[in-house]
Symmetry: D3
Subunit: 64 residues, 6 copies
Amino acid sequence: MPFVIVEMWEGRTLEQKRALVKAITDAMIEHAGAKPDHLHVVIHESTLDNWGRAGVLGSDEAKG
Amino acid sequence: MPFVIVEMWEGRTLEQKRALVKAITDAMIEHAGAKPDHLHVVIHESTLDNWGRAGVLGSDEAKG
Amino acid sequence: MPFVIVEMWEGRTLEQKRALVKAITDAMIEHAGAKPDHLHVVIHESTLDNWGRAGVLGSDEAKG
Amino acid sequence: MPFVIVEMWEGRTLEQKRALVKAITDAMIEHAGAKPDHLHVVIHESTLDNWGRAGVLGSDEAKG
Amino acid sequence: MPFVIVEMWEGRTLEQKRALVKAITDAMIEHAGAKPDHLHVVIHESTLDNWGRAGVLGSDEAKG
Amino acid sequence: MPFVIVEMWEGRTLEQKRALVKAITDAMIEHAGAKPDHLHVVIHESTLDNWGRAGVLGSDEAKG
């Protein structure tokens, strides 16, 4: 009965999300013994100004 | 001093959210001994294309 | 298909957790239209030294 | 290799977010021994109707 | 620069965790364009009494 | 009314956690306009075998 949260920047296509959710689900079934019916994956998409790495906002890094 | 995060699909009305936050707060006060003043509930609403179950995106399941 | 995460201090009994999970589930069903079979509640229990409010650790506040 | 999630109401300016991400990163480096290059901060901005305190939605409290 | 949180029951072996983290990382690289060096996966292991589905604690379900 | 979650490896001392919670709280007050009384910081400490970067578990990286 696991649940997976993906925190990432916005901008992936529907195709990418579809493949990502499928691949993470397969990984959980194969390696963690999860049953697919109760397995959820949620994607939290972040805008560039709501994410920082090494103390720098993504929106500033993109300009750099 | 608890904090509750609700991950769910978008689409609930303001009325539903109001009642949900109240009911979860009441549950925390009654069963977990929480003090209401320091008790927060945040709702993360997900679009259908950012949530998958059993490896299938919500936006694909809705079409099926 | 919602998922609820409860962040709170450790120390609740099994009885309290049982009642809490039931009450939050009921709240989600009644007010958010969730189907119980796909509804998960996870409790993250925190030790007093891993939680701060107003800048003060719980383990220091308890001594105060 | 830490990761920090900030849950807060929407409405901060880009300037505030930039300073906040920098200050949290500095705090993690100074007090938790984190290396900046692998340190991420993500901000989850919540609308007023997706947050409740003491059982009352932020959007209702703002009216009160 | 994504970050993945896996919420699941305790009990997986080190081997399983190693394979799971590798497979999720590969999924993120292939389908979400993530760079591995900045990609983190954290596993939150839950005890049976800190997880409920359909309103029933895992520790009660295991007995049923 | 913000809430901050810190995901990091275990091993910080009480002193470090105390200073970290204080510094993050100060950052939130100064840069995000948070009121300290309703500001919570929770630390999720992860064991080395529950965290991976670049597809490698922390417990394996430590050995390398």
